[in-house]
Assembly symmetry: C2
Homo-oligomer: 113 residues x 2
DNA sequence: ATTATGATTAACCATGTAGTTAACTATAAA
DNA sequence: TTTATAGTTAACTACATGGTTAATCATAAT
């Protein structure tokens, strides 16, 4: 049996492991965008951006609606949420670190007096 | 000028885009582990795991200390924290979704009466 | 001194990635 | 009807990835 959640996270993290794609996500987070709008700021062919968008789509990070020749892309936060959920498992570890740092600071201050 | 933060996130997300590596992270989160301990549960050569660990290390997700022939690996949460920080930018979007869902539910209940 | 163990490294293979250009599809405008 | 626009797809290149086995290195045990 295959773990689909596993595959899903693979795809999500892989999609996010590219700064161009993260910038595309940024743009779509602000508001929905057409493919050409998304491509405009990049020094890269439309074909390349088209592929990047498809990677985001496969990872379920982006939904697309087609009207005539215009493809409109919008962020689908479900996958971002899943990625965050995985990372959240480890939140307590860096909280621990912060607590430790805080304590050290506190002790340092006490010594000053 | 190169954006180092960008490169860093590339490496972090790429490191996390593999279920074997995520499982290694899980194991190290529980407690620090030697390389062989980390390799043990996997149906894969030690060499392969050694490489996976190096990917995690390059992404700053793992620190290693060597004592004799034993390499001990522990989680470094700094990078996990960075990844979470990036994702947290979008948190408001799924909160919006949840709010909308909540409202819909509320309205549905009102109609019942 | 020899052998066994923990781990890395090198050489290799198959597959995947990120980009290119060129060809194509579909729709809108002249 | 022709042409321009929005976008995808195909074929290609160069390089990275994830795995293998075999060789190597360093340390510990006999």
């Amino acid at each position: 049996m295959v773990n689909h959640n596993k595959d899903h996270l693979d795809g999500i993290f892989h999609a996010l492991a590219d700064s161009t794609r993260r910038e595309l996500v940024d743009m779509m987070a602000e508001k929905e965008r057409t493919v050409s709008e998304l491509a405009e700021p990049f020094d890269m062919s439309l074909a390349a951006i088209s592929k990047h968008i498809k990677v985001l789509e496969r990872a379920n990070l982006v939904d697309r609606s087609v009207k005539g020749r215009i493809h409109t892309c919008r962020l689908n936060t479900d996958s971002l949420f899943k990625a965050t959920e995985w990372l959240r498992l480890y939140e307590k570890y860096w909280n621990k670190r912060f607590d430790r740092l805080e304590n050290e600071l506190l002790n340092a201050k006490k010594k000053e007096h």
